[in-house]
Amino acid sequence: MANRSRRVVPAGLALVLALVMAGCNANSQSTEPTKDKNTTALESVPQGGTLHYLSRRATESFETAKAQMVPTTRLRWVHRGLTSWQTFPDKDTVLVPDLATDTGTTDDGGKTWTFTLQEGLKFSDGSPITAQDVKYGVERSFAPMFQGGLGYHKTLLVGGTDYDGPYDGKELDSIEVVDDHKIVFHLTRPFGNWPWIVSMPAFAPVPAAADTEPETYGEHPVASGPYQVTSFRKGSQAVLERNPNWKADTDQVRFAGPDKIVLDMGLNNDTIVQRLIDDKGEDKTAISNALISPAQFQRIESDPSISTRMANSPSGYFRYLAMNVKRPVLSDVRVRQAINYAINKAELQSVYGGPKFGGQITSTIMTPGIPGYTEYNLYDGGDTGNVDKAKKLLAAAGVSDLKLTLTYPTDVSAIEEKEAQSIKNSLARVGVKVELKGLDGDTWYELISSADGDYDMTTNGWGADFPSGMSTIQPLFASSEIGNGGGNASNFSNPKVDAAIEAATAEPNLDKAAEMWAAIDKQIMEDAPIVPILVQRTQALAGSKIKNYFIPAYPPFANELVVRVDR
């Protein structure tokens, strides 16, 4: 579903606050890139070997302009960005400089951002990496032919909405190249998370001279990262080998363990999982993006030689029930609060595979791992719900014989159907009749993302594109996200919340912003437009010779840049 991104749940709140803030203060003055790779939990393994990547996607490419991948994935074997993410098995993810010497500075409260590139960096073709190359890379992402990537910058950069890319000779003036190493971004409004935005794929440098065939550039790009593409067969296989011009001491996020990486594309998901379970031959040195189905958990768990190779996310995606507040029956906050009390979250948790593999019950919007995540529960009915309290609230609202429709997509997995059925059962306990309306995924999404959609409730999932309330709360609850394909499925509109979201979005001090998002989280839940259900876990398997394979608190994917091959 277009609407699912990622998000994560770490464990401790104190840890979250302490760590995240230390790492991503946008105003921190630049320091020399420090080497902080030797976290105790990461095993030190000699460099070398061949890493195999088994991808279920046939459309793998190293094109940055239309990519939606987070900075810790395989795209970044080849491409660096202005900033990047450092992940840990036991600590929260932090933003660190990548090509830049710091994570960006602003003198005007977040509207203008300056980055300085490290000296002496070179592309795989030997040419120097300059600010102009970064600018050109960003400009390409505006070309209509490259639609489809993470495009937060497209509406934020001045003139971005009217810009169509560099191919007809036009430049985007709001990206100012001061000299070879200094680049300044002029934004339409203050945006505190800009340092995170410049970690996204479009901010990888592309030398204009090499971009002679834009359509296939992603098959043979000029590399800034530790590997270059030496062979590319579309839809079938890519081979990466070391980029001799990459220097480890300029890069704090890439371990560049293996000498060679073979990426096999378009494989059957179940076949990949089976191969990783079997762990034979080259598959011993393989990782993948295959999804493990609940049916396979038992087999994996019962065999320690397999279960020890499985990475399980401490956090994950946000799963919730949205209530359409525009519907007369749901316009009374007491009814929505009653539904919050009525839902049996423990049953939903078991529908999703239980606490170990399915996910953790939640009562907040932000998930662990997102700065500002604070545990609280405004409607604490225990894990199984509080029927009496729900009934009392319904009575107070003067509601009886309530009938509601619940819509959900039917083509994602069978779980969504079971989930809807469980919600129906929960609400039957308090005398609310629910009619289930399963729809084809596209029809469902059109319905819940249009302002006048005919539905009372829908289940939904969400994951952030970067760790901030900006990427979780804003897309789901700002009134600007109602209709027109927006993610505000509750049609929730509260001017005070909108104002608070705007202020938190602008705040360049991310510590302070985190506190603001925490307050907004609670403010929204006071209006109860949703029932938070679960923080859904994700799992991934690796071959027995793979080291440093773990899923951090955020994002809910293994960091593919730190993986090493044991020989």
Binding site: P144, M145, L150, G151, S236, T271, D442, P475, G485
Partner: protein, 328 residues
Amino acid sequence: MIVYIARRMVTAVFMLLAIAFVTIALFFGASKDPARAMCGKPCPPETRAKVSAYMQTDQSAVWQYTEFVKGLFVGRTYGEGAQQVHCDAPCFGYSFPNRSDVTTLIAERLPVTLSLALGAAVLCLVVGIGLGALSAIRKGGIVDRFSTGFAMFGLSVPTFLVGLLVVQVFGFMLNALPYSGFVSFSESPTDWAWHLIGPWMVLSFILAAGYIRVTRTQLLNELSADHLVAMTARGASTRQVNRHAVRGVMVPVAAMFALDVTALLGGSVIAERVFSLHGLGDLLLSAVNEADLSIVVGVTLFSAFLIIVGNLIADLLMPLLDPRIRRA
């Protein structure tokens, strides 16, 4: 004869145009918006409108159809200025998610589908006719009972189940066959066949069932037909009698075979998916998921074209196989 072929070809063209129209109309009837899939994240309405305009998916189904037909003769151009994308005539559309024109995509995928289809067709013909004929000749014997059961099983189990079983048993448990992948014939004929044995087995197992039954029934009918009984009575050898009987079996088998082969050439979605083969079936399925209209129309038309041609060839072959049809 030439007039007959010409008439059939003209009908075929109109039929294809009608199929294109229905495909486009159905596609636009569903609430899929190709622009949403290509819009990126976040996707504000302005971006979506821009993408839609560039891909030309903001136009009506009738407009799409007119442009599609026009594109067949004069080609198509998407976008403006330096962003232009050309698709030369005959243009079957341009796939934006794949950044390629549909003709090229079909041509890229065809070798996989062709290898899969031809191998499966040959295997199912050999197994199907062989078992069918043996069953008929020794009716009620062990071979007959085995192949009747085999055919029943093949007709009743779903393809994906057989596919998964083959992968599981021969791929993972016995480690005897590769579980996925494709090697082109020109690269290595041995590896090519080696990688395809699994999918061939699956497809021919499913298809052979029909041939076993048709061959057996038809051969039994023929053998008890008056002219063959007469032949036997006049002292013709079994070999001679069988040779005559086989002729009668050829007609229905050829008609069935032409249809099966053309359907296989249109792509076998399930076998391709299970064995991670990237042929036309896989192309079509991904396109449906990604709301990629151009590919859906292109592949549908291509498959329809193959089926029409296949039928035509079967119809033309009939008179050669059976003189009675020639006279009629």
